[in-house]
């Protein structure tokens, strides 16, 4: 018999990766130039976690997915217009600053409070999902910290696969060095899973799912609590773009033989 699980997905929003990012320093530290007008997307690895959560919930009747996200309401609403069409979930929004520069410990504290306040969440059945790193801060620590705060001591990072078994145990594949996976079996929930890419393609947009989700998303956004993030002693000495513009030599008229010879010499050179 399938196991019903309660899956909480923590997912931030990040600037669309095609945008140019330029750091600026404000009164509270660094941020991005024109941050509020940059198009945003759901963090890619967290999106993998959401898609995996949706697939897992669909395979296990009685399961439910919550999406917990911290960010400015307007940005959350914009991103949800797309994300809501992919997977059925209930949004738990928290209004707060966007971006990679706030301290992860503060973010974790805020998200933990939001999770603890979820009505109907059975923490004994909980799988806490998220990206193993974000495309903003990219520290890979927020999910762990939330897990610790919630008292969950079975944690996995760089997850590409979970197989939930009928007895309630599950097998997890975590990325380790050298392109390999560590295989673990956890006897029961709860657990924390920080996802890498997983194995699922991005689900197609389903307007019916979107309409059902939006019925709860808009009221949730209207009621979102406002969070203030503490710096926790974190100070930024500098933040700058790398100066890595290269003087590119473009070869348009070399034959394959000439290119191969040049590359072979280049590869062989120390």
């Amino acid at each position: 018999m399938a196991q019903a699980v309660h899956i909480v997905v923590c997912a931030g929003i990040v600037p669309d990766p095609l945008q140019t990012l330029e750091p600026v320093t404000g009164p509270t530290g660094p941020g991005l130039k024109n941050e509020m007008v940059l198009p945003a997307v759901l963090d890619p690895w967290a999106a993998s976690a959401l898609y995996e959560a949706g697939a897992l919930a669909a395979k296990n009747p009685g399961s439910k997915v919550w999406l917990v996200s911290l960010g400015p309401k307007a940005k959350l609403q914009q991103v949800m217009m797309t994300v809501a069409q992919k997977v059925s979930f209930e949004l738990v929004p928290v209004e707060g600053p966007i971006g990679g520069f706030p301290d992860a410990h503060s973010t974790a504290a805020v998200l933990t409070e939001a999770i603890e306040a979820i009505a109907g969440l059975d923490r004994s059945k909980c799988l806490l999902f998220g990206g193993w790193e974000s495309a903003s801060r990219g520290a890979g620590v927020t999910l762990q910290l939330i897990g610790e705060r919630l008292g969950i001591t079975e944690q996995f990072q760089g997850v590409d696969q979970i197989d939930l078994r009928e007895d309630g145990s599950f097998e997890v594949l975590e990325r380790v060095e050298g392109g390999k996976h560590q295989v673990s079996v956890c006897s029961t929930t709860p657990a924390v899973l920080g996802w890498a890419t997983g194995n699922l393609a991005e689900p197609r947009n389903n307007p019916q799912v979107g309409m059902a989700n939006m019925r709860t998303i808009m009221p949730a956004l209207a009621k979102a609590n406002v969070a203030k993030l503490e710096a926790n002693g974190l100070r930024y000495i500098s933040a700058s773009q790398p100066k890595q513009q290269r003087e590119t030599r473009v070869e348009k008229n070399m034959t394959p033989d000439e290119i191969a010879a040049e590359l072979a010499a280049w590869i062989g050179a120390e």
């Binding site: 600037p15 990766p17 990012l21 750091p23 660094p30 890619p44 993998s48 990679g100 301290d103 495309a135 903003s136 990219g138 520290a139 890979g140 620590v141 762990q144 910290l145 610790e148 705060r149 001591t153 079975e154 944690q155 996995f156 990072q157 590409d160 975590e174 380790v176 060095e177 050298g178 392109g179 996976h181 560590q182 295989v183 673990s184 079996v185 956890c186 029961t188 890419t197 997983g198 194995n199 002693g233 974190l234 100070r235 000495i237 500098s238 933040a239 773009q241 513009q245 290269r246 003087e247 590119t248 030599r249 473009v250 348009k252 394959p256 290119i259 590359l263 280049w266 590869i267 062989g268």
Partner: protein
């Protein structure tokens, strides 16, 4: 005065320190010297592995009972917490290995401390300053913290591995009660395709883009030939294989795919940012989401049919406007001839 603890673990042999651990030892030793701080080195695993760092003169600590051999959260976090408490560390340096990346934040929280990860440089010249990247290697920042304990996870490949004379080390055993764990590590699995194409220690990174599985001038797709050429290059040049997201994603969309590629090969915004001395990109457009994964590649060359591709705009050192099928076939022949 700061008290620095370097956390280490053994490699897959179970008896020697991992290379990333030895790099963390270098970082800790240098920072301790700059700050006139005390230095301790702790290990989860075989205490005898610390013989390799006996010459550092550091205090050496170990948690090595059977219950702590598996790389899992509950037991590793308990062991690391005990090592930190025993050392009374104000600064904890550890490698950004999969084993310590899994637990370090949790341990920092248990100790009332804070953590910063993916550190690429450390300086103690005017207080402790740590350099790391934000937004997937697109913004570099230097940070500091007043709060302690401060955990710093150092990225692999950013330090020289410590290589002092090995000696019989005097190691203090730290006794930890094994926590109840619901997790059992059952093994390690290589990608299903069977051929290991990810080689972090390789000098050369070869990146395959989606063009390899697109229609060629004859109007046909030549996936099998592409696979053979790419594998041939990897063998001849002892290279590691990376891929663009679009090429890997084709597998999930039912398209013709290269049989040895997995998401673990992915380089870029949603993939890895490996460190190799040289990188050769083929059949890839070189736009920003992909190129952020090349931040730590030294010499970069690309083969592309598109003279306006991203690589030509200051992102590669040399771009050859050519057919990667033809060039790679010739290149493989040359590399194989030079080997024999």
């Amino acid at each position: 005065m700061e008290s620095i603890l370097v956390l280490t673990h053994v490699d897959e042999t179970g008896s020697a320190l991992s290379k990333a651990s030895l790099e963390a030892v270098t970082a800790g030793k240098e920072l301790a010297a700059q700050l006139s701080a005390t230095l301790a080195i702790g290990i989860i695993g075989s205490a005898s592995a610390l013989n390799a760092v006996a010459a550092t003169g550091a205090r050496l600590l170990a948690v090595e009972s059977e219950a702590f051999t598996q790389a899992r959260y509950s037991s590793d976090a308990a062991a690391a917490e005990a090592l930190c408490r025993t050392a009374q560390a104000s600064i904890v340096i550890a490698p950004s290995s999969s084993r310590f990346s899994r637990i370090a934040a949790g341990v920092a929280h248990r100790l009332g401390g804070f953590i910063d990860t993916h550190i690429t440089a450390l300086s103690g010249a005017s207080g402790i300053e740590a350099t790391r990247w934000f937004y997937r290697q697109r913004i570099e920042a230097v940070v500091s913290r007043d709060t302690r304990p401060w955990f710093l996870l150092v990225d692999a490949g950013t330090q020289i591995a410590y290589a002092g004379e090995a000696a019989a080390a005097s190691v203090e055993q730290v006794v930890v009660e094994a926590p109840r764990s619901r997790t059992t590590v059952t093994g390690v699995r290589a990608p299903e395709q069977g051929q290991q194409t990810i080689r972090p220690d390789a000098k050369m990174l070869f990146v395959a883009g989606a063009g390899w599985t697109k229609k060629q001038p004859d109007g046909q797709i030549h996936t099998a030939e592409a696979a053979e050429l790419i594998m041939g290059f990897l063998k001849s040049a002892s290279a590691s294989l990376g891929s663009s997201k679009s090429l890997v994603d084709q597998g999930g969309e039912g398209n013709s795919v290269l049989p040895f590629l997995t998401h673990m090969n992915q380089i870029g915004q949603t993939g890895a940012t490996p460190r190799h001395a040289k990188g050769l990109s083929t059949c890839c457009h070189g736009e920003e989401p992909h190129v952020v994964g090349w931040r730590f590649i030294g010499d970069r060359r690309a083969i592309s049919l598109d003279p306006n591709c991203g690589w030509t705009r200051g992102k590669a050192d040399v771009v050859y406007i050519a057919d990667a099928f033809a060039v790679t076939a010739k290149l493989n022949a040359l590399l194989q001839a030079s080997k024999s």
